[in-house]
């Protein structure tokens, strides 16, 4: 609760709304004891007095009645009516929703069809129809506004109830022999109360507005009684000669509704866990860079990553996803980057072209050099011109990574035309050719397909074709086969290998599967807890892994036919990168770990083969 209040007031606008609304409600409550003129006391000698006149702070209206007094009494009435309408709509709607959602089946069907019917009306129209029947009057306006809002509550609450009605504790209550009424009252209702409260707090502003509207039309409160809406309605005829009689009640409605809305939004946001974690932030066009110094290039390489550091900054927590990673990639070479989920391999790959989602991602150090030119912190336009043209990506799940609403042909054509000023027809021809290159049968027809019309393997071929569209020098493949089944996986790997040979592509291949690395990669780098722990030629590493982690990782790969190795999962979990232990990050899971492993910085040592381990399995 205190967290809730803290979150609510951290949102300054919500705090402002709470204060304004608090003052207004307090004034409304105190109205009967304030020294005011009676609201209906007419004095035709003092008609249309301006604000700040003697004895009338806000002036008087067309009958010489004190506006301040009428305003406060009207506010009292409007607040009461709006609140009552919200309460009635909330309770009735919740009752309908709970019953429909809990009993389901036919009850649900019939009720919800009825609700849908009501929702087919534009909703002020329905309120008008109801007032037409009941006759003008404040109580009738209240009923009308409450009734038209019932469907909204019924729908919301039904949805929530359906979710609850199938949970274990309801089944348990049923098995314990509790009756429906008791289950509803003791198990279901307590769980939906917060939802009803939120829905009410977000709609009460509307209800005040709507009843004011009906009163404005002359269908709500009848003279001499006046709520804010009818004050405005009465003042309309004198709009030009005495505008203050309109402005006073109008501004009050605006203030009430705005403060209610601000507060309602604040409550909703404070209760939304996604906002708390910052998960609703949108990633920017390029990853944010906060780099203090540029490390010197540590060697040659077509693509060189030097001491790259990428972090996720969520609130006060810092997740060091990539921690001083250095890699290099030569033309035509295939480098495998391997590790468990969360080891930082994908973040490393995405950092190259500034594609790490930011916020929360920040590149805090290191350099990424393409043909010697540093790309970290490069202007957006340079980065954009390199993306897809020099360095292309293939992502993991082709269903979510292809745009669901564009034809695959159009997505390919776009990829070509962003970098080359060719005609649409020419680009189309090349798109078909690309699809043929990745062995999509009947490519000329398939360009017109949408992603959801293709199989997973076909979609990934499209993903590859898109990466090849501009004949890039480097392809970064981020687990391109993980989402596919095994036979398709083999085909895709064969295709990538063939394309590499034919086009002289350099590939950075990210995977968690040593079997895949063995098939495709010249060299391999193993990542753990955001750092490289071992690197070397694939064959050497496979035959004699030096780091205990590498050894365990290789043991995870099932072997066809032979079966000489023991297939073993690695005990324990990968480390949380916001609280890495000192020393070797793998030490807690390593059965060879000594005290020395848990102290200080351990170097990545070696020449062609490097390992970050004090007690390597084999000498590097």
């Amino acid at each position: 609760m205190s967290l809730f209040l803290k979150l609510l007031f951290r949102n300054r606008l919500a705090g402002f709304g709470a204060v304004v609304l608090g003052v207004i409600v307090l004034l409304a409550l105190l109205t009967p004891i304030l020294p005011l003129h009676p609201p209906n006391e007419t004095n035709t000698a003092n008609r249309y007095l301006r604000p700040l006149s003697d004895g009338h702070l806000l002036g008087t209206d067309h009958l010489g009645r004190d506006l301040l007094s009428r305003l406060l009494w009207g506010t009292r009435l409007s607040l009461a009516v709006g609140f009552a309408a919200a309460l009635i709509a909330g309770l009735a709607g919740a009752a309908i929703g709970v019953i429909a959602g809990y009993f389901g089946g036919r009850t649900d069907n019939v009720t919800m069809r009825g609700i849908d019917m009501l929702m087919a009306f534009p909703y002020i129209l329905l309120a008008l129809a109801i007032v037409a029947v009941l006759g003008p009057g404040l109580l009738n306006a209240l009923i009308a506004v409450a009734v038209v809002n019932i469907p909204f509550f019924a729908r919301n609450i039904r949805g929530v109830t359906v979710g609850i009605a199938h949970r274990e504790f309801i089944d348990a209550a049923r098995l314990a022999g509790m009756g429906h009424t008791r289950i509803l009252l003791t198990e279901v209702v307590p769980n939906i109360v917060p939802v009803v409260v939120i829905a009410m707090s977000t709609t009460i502003g509307w209800m005040i507005l709507e009843t004011a509207g009906l009163s404005f039309l002359g269908l709500g409160s009848q003279p001499p009684q006046a709520d804010l809406g009818s004050m405005l309605g009465e003042a309309r005829s004198a709009l030009i000669t005495a505008p203050h009689t309109s402005i006073v009640p109008g501004v009050m409605i605006l203030l009430i509704v705005m403060s209610v809305n601000l507060l309602g939004d604040g409550i909703r946001d404070a209760l939304d866990p996604r906002l708390r974690s910052g998960a609703l932030a949108r990633p920017m066009a390029a990853t944010r860079v906060e780099r203090r110094e540029v490390p010197a290039a540590q060697g040659e390489g077509f693509l060189r990553i030097d001491a790259l550091e990428t972090q996720f900054q969520v609130g006060r927590r810092i997740y060091k996803a990539v921690n001083k990673v250095s890699l290099d990639l030569q033309p035509g070479e295939c480098l495998g980057l391997i590790g468990e989920s969360g080891s930082g391999k994908s973040v490393t790959a995405l950092s190259v072209m500034g594609l790490v989602a930011s916020p929360p991602g920040v590149i805090t150090g290191g350099a990424v050099r393409l043909e010697g030119k540093d790309l970290i912190g490069a202007p957006y336009e340079l980065l954009r011109s390199l993306r897809g043209r020099k360095v292309a990506y293939i992502f993991q799940d082709p269903l979510s990574t292809l745009h669901p609403l564009y034809r695959i042909g159009d997505q390919l054509i776009e990829a070509i035309r962003v970098h080359e000023p060719v005609s649409h027809g020419e680009a189309h021809k090349r798109a078909v050719k690309l699809l043929e290159d990745v062995r999509i049968p009947n490519a000329a027809a398939r360009v017109r397909a949408y992603p959801h019309e293709l199989s997973g393997g076909m979609r990934q071929r499209v993903g590859i074709a898109m990466a090849l569209a501009n004949d890039p020098d480097i392809i970064i493949a981020d687990e391109p086969t993980t989402a596919l089944d095994v036979t398709v996986q083999a085909q895709i790997l064969a295709l990538l290998d063939e394309l590499r040979q034919r086009r002289g592509l350099a590939i950075l291949f990210i995977t968690h599967d040593f079997g895949v690395v063995g098939q495709l990669c010249d060299r391999v780098a193993v990542m753990y807890g955001g750092r490289i722990v071992e690197t070397g030629p694939t064959q050497d590493v496979l035959e004699g892994p030096a780091h205990p982690y590498t050894k365990r990782l290789i043991a995870c790969v099932p072997e066809l036919g032979g079966g000489r190795r023991i297939l073993a999962a690695i005990p324990g979990l990968p480390p949380a990168v916001d609280q890495l232990p000192e020393g070797c990050a793998f030490a807690p899971r390593c059965d060879k770990a000594q005290d020395a492993c848990r102290r200080g910085e351990i170097e990545l040592k070696g020449e062609t083969r490097k390992v970050r381990c004090l007690y390597p399995e084999v000498a590097p």
């Binding site: 534009p122 909703y123 129809a129 037409a132 029947v133 405005l232 011109s385 992502f395 990574t401 292809l402």
Partner: protein, 315 residues
Amino acid sequence: MGGYILKRLLSAIPVLLGITVIVFLIMAMIPGDPATAILGSYATPENVARLNRFLGLDEPLWRQYFIWLGNMLQGDFGRSFALNRPVLDEILDRFSATLILAGTAFVLCALLGVIAGTISAARQYGFADKAITFVVILGISVPSFFLGMMMILIFAVQLRWFPVSGMYSIWGGGDLPDLIRHLTMPAIALSVVATGVVARLSRGAMLEVLRQDFIRTARAKGVHERRVIWGHALRAAMVSIIPVLGIQAGFVLSGAVYIEMVFQWPGVGRMLVDAILKRDILLVQGGVVFIAACYVGFNIVVDVAQAWLDPRIKT
């Protein structure tokens, strides 16, 4: 596509029937009988009985409904006793004015709302986002009738940019520029709340979409950020924005009541309010059914637009 449209049209029939049932039942709940209302409280019982028979009110309720429905299907919505002319004629005369007003307001709210929401999302937490959010909150909190009155005060009375009220000038008006001059203020006043709602939901939908993987793919291809936002992301976000537009269309159509009162616009809304105050039941009944039916029709258009935009729906 043709099949989908047909299917959607057929599914509207039960909804339309449901609407007539609801309206009929609401109207049947009116206390007292219409004959007395028409003839006044000094009418003799014989005259009341005769008028009841003439109006078909001595029939059982369900037969009354089918007679009413049958008549409506033939274009006979009954006769307004206050105006002494066929209800449908009156509605059709008034409806074009409402359609011009609500249509303009709808286009405004759709365009401005989506654009503002998109900018807001693309610049999340930036200055533009904060400014738009503030204006939006103000917009959804202001009563449209109050806004309309203030606009009259400022732009018509003080600055004299626009006429105070009405749809055409009495002298020498009647052409399109004259209509536009009269239309500007009411259309804006009517669209403000809906624009706010659309902007808000567009911002939310865009933020949701911008985190999707296919946006990263577009960026990885080297697509320019402008196109990522206004092409890839907005296209996908429209899938959830369009239903909101459908709801707002209903809101604008019925919210026109207030604006028509404030600006003396000769539309259906003002007709309805007058009819309610005069207890001209047939006119209310006919007007409500007519507007609700239009709204159902518009929702079909929305669904078809949705299906056209999202190829995954059609199957």
